[in-house]
């Protein structure tokens, strides 16, 4: 429904979004790896001073089992204020929640009671496949033409994966986004530079190569995704492909600068076949095209093979497995999740080509099993994974599960879910909030976090 003035959570620029009020709630995708209990969107109280601070205060169960809730997003965001395609009177009101495994898409209305969102529409897998010709919906971004959904496979579960559009008010599927996909076959994440009319997509792999866990032969054969794709956001045509080389496997999370005038961004490659290291790359505009440069390499850590899962015993080392990164609203700090070693790192990326490590905490980890001041058992598993930053950059939240079938490959006893929070200093430096440790309900594992009103990976902006 249209409003008279813009949604108060829309900000023209990232600079203004940093002045937003402190979030009071976090929404967390929560799934049952055994696929016996319905997955849920879990609501966490993050308001300091609240009587239920750092507790789960709401749970919305999905209508089916086995969806594998993973990533999700808002129907509308600050991009609605863009001058070329304004929708300023839409509301940030609905969470668009896909099941990565089921390809079902749920629409949750958070307006009436933000702690008890209501499921208002469910798009069944066959409807999604028929209308979009895609399945395995992953990333959700609100943008100039509605809701953009990155999907990992086509209707048959094969290549190509791609992007489709949903109406941001009716949630009808409007169809495939690409007009000319060029050489692109694999899909994973999607985001853009609104100031440069450029969309970027990254690559994971096809469902057969991850739905039962990572396939060692495919990984060692360098056959998971290792490319970035650049598109014209408005003609919807593929413009350029950048290959990181087959040794840099799994090119994942796209974090373009929030300032729309800046033409650079960061992306992580999870693992190098050369030495098990992980890397962060900066993409940037050079001349008339895009280029990339590796700016961070995080080495594997030697470890006692007795502490390692079968997959890693032969290597005698823990790969850092950088599986998520997130960029603060002022484009200054990049947070890096090392799901293997258990590090959550903070880099100052004021100079996007010369990051400086400014903080590290360790929790969980394949060999280290590091604990948290508030944890009961003192030996945590899983590691820093989906990370989300408050708009003002002062609070950082993360959870510890990667993907049901992959969790067990690296943490063979399974993962006991947790969610934690860091306090970040304005000039750099991070520390655990000793009062914030949420032991996740044993039936579920937590994945992506979305903060009330928007966060550092939910909105894009047209004004600097």
């Amino acid at each position: 429904m249209a409003t008279w003035t813009p949604d108060p959570t829309f900000y023209p620029s990232p600079r203004m979004a940093m002045q937003a009020p402190v979030e009071t709630l976090a929404y967390v995708a929560s799934f049952d790896p055994a696929r016996r209990v319905p997955d849920a969107i879990t609501v966490v109280d993050v308001a300091p001073g609240s009587a239920t601070y750092s507790q789960v205060v709401g749970t919305v169960a999905m209508p089916n089992v086995g969806d594998e809730l993973h990533h999700f997003g808002w129907n509308a965001c600050s991009a609605c204020l863009c001058p070329n395609a304004p929708h300023p009177h839409s509301e940030r009101r609905y969470l668009v929640v896909p099941g990565l495994r089921s390809s079902r898409i749920h629409i949750l209305d958070v307006k009436a009671d933000p702690r008890r969102p209501e499921i208002v529409r469910v798009l069944e897998p066959h409807e999604v496949a028929e209308r979009s010709n895609y399945t395995r919906a992953h990333t959700i971004h609100c943008g100039p033409e509605g809701i953009y959904v990155a999907a990992l496979a086509n209707a048959q579960g094969e290549a190509p994966g791609g992007v489709f559009l949903m109406d941001h008010e009716t949630f009808d599927i409007r169809g495939q986004w690409e007009i000319d996909r060029g050489p692109q076959r694999l899909a994973y994440d999607v985001w853009w530079h609104l100031g440069h009319d450029t969309m970027v997509t990254s690559e994971w792999g096809l469902p057969a190569s991850f739905e039962n866990g990572l396939v060692p032969e495919i990984l060692l054969g360098g056959q998971y995704g290792h490319k970035l794709h650049f598109w014209d956001l408005h003609t919807r045509k593929h413009k350029q492909e950048i290959d990181f080389g087959a040794e840099n496997q799994l090119v994942f999370e796209l974090r373009p600068a929030h300032d729309p005038t800046k033409a650079y961004g960061f992306v992580n490659s999870v693992i190098s076949l050369k030495d098990l290291s992980a890397s962060i790359w900066t993409w940037y505009r050079e001349g008339g095209s895009w280029a990339v440069r590796k700016v961070i390499e995080i080495p594997a850590e030697p470890a006692d093979p007795a502490l390692l899962p079968d997959m890693l015993k032969g290597f005698g080392a823990v790969p850092p497995l950088v599986t998520d990164i997130d960029l603060s609203m002022d484009d200054r700090f990049l947070y890096v999740s090392c799901w293997g070693t258990g590090d959550l790192r903070q880099y100052d990326v004021s100079d996007p080509f010369a990051p400086k490590l400014t903080g590290t905490v360790r929790i969980g980890g394949i060999a280290s099993r590091a604990t948290h001041p508030k944890a009961q058992n003192g030996k945590l598993n899983g590691g820093p994974q989906m990370v989300e930053i408050s708009r003002d950059g002062k609070r950082v939240y993360f959870t510890n599960s990667l993907y049901g079938a992959i969790d067990e490959q690296f943490y063979p006893e399974g993962i006991d879910g947790w969610m934690v929070k860091l306090d970040a200093k304005p000039e750099g430096g991070i520390a655990f909030d000793p009062d914030f440790f949420i032991e996740w309900p044993k039936t579920h594992r937590p994945h992506q976090i979305r903060l009330e009103g928007g966060d550092c990976s939910s909105d894009s902006y047209c004004y600097p």
């Binding site: 813009p6 203004m16 070329n84 395609a85 929708h87 300023p88 509605g146 100031g195």
Partner: protein, 208 residues
């Protein structure tokens, strides 16, 4: 010119003011381009293509109505125009949020004119002027007052007002005000707009 003869012209100018104030009709795009390119010049350079695209869209509607008025009964023109406006308002209400986006922040002069033309057309900017054209068609034709010239004069009055308002708002916002006010100050022009289209259409039908 009598008072009665002046009102269509005041309407063209008044609607120029209304269209110029609407952030979705161009001033906001001009400000954004100025901020991106860090230059006041970029704001000023954006104004001409915005006005040109808008003018072309409005003129196509004006010329069509005046041409129709020259060959068919005026009551029929009024009724048809009214019905189109009401339908347009209904479409706008239902699907107004759903546009294919053709240009973005790297837009050039032609792209900006195209954008402005599409925005004005999609929003029915020209249709809103139709009631003011109708009395012009019914007036006694005089030398040099053919439909073409009339439509050009009408569009000129509308566009000059629109351009002036667009330019003033863009400059004031770019130089002094900044964009923070949009968060509260961007009132729902679409709602006003849809209402204006529907009211105009109904008025035409009733008076047909």
């Amino acid at each position: 010119m009598t008072v009665q003869g002046a009102w269509p012209w005041l309407t063209f100018a008044g609607l120029g003011l209304f269209h110029g104030l609407n952030p979705a009709m161009g001033w906001l795009f001009a400000v954004a381009l100025g901020l991106h390119r860090r230059s006041r010049r970029a704001v000023l350079l954006a104004l001409a293509p915005v006005a040109a695209g808008h003018a072309l869209s409005v003129w196509l509607v004006a010329a069509s109505v005046l041409a129709m008025g020259a060959v068919i009964d005026m009551a029929a023109v009024r009724f048809a125009a009214g019905a189109i406006l009401v339908l347009w308002a209904g479409y706008h209400w239902t699907y107004g949020h759903r546009h294919r986006v053709r240009v973005g922040m790297t837009v050039g002069v032609l792209g900006l004119a195209l954008w402005s033309f599409l925005m004005a057309t999609a929003h029915g900017a020209g249709l809103m002027l139709v009631p003011a054209f109708v009395p012009l068609c019914t007036g006694t034709p005089t030398l040099g007052q053919g439909p073409l010239l009339l439509s050009l004069r009408a569009v000129a009055v509308h566009t000059v007002t629109m351009l002036t308002v667009t330019g003033l708002v863009a400059l004031v916002v770019h130089e002094w005000v900044g964009l923070a006010f949009l968060r509260r100050g961007w009132i729902n022009f679409d709602l006003l707009w849809t209402g204006a289209l529907a009211a105009t259409g109904l008025a035409l039908i009733v008076t047909a």
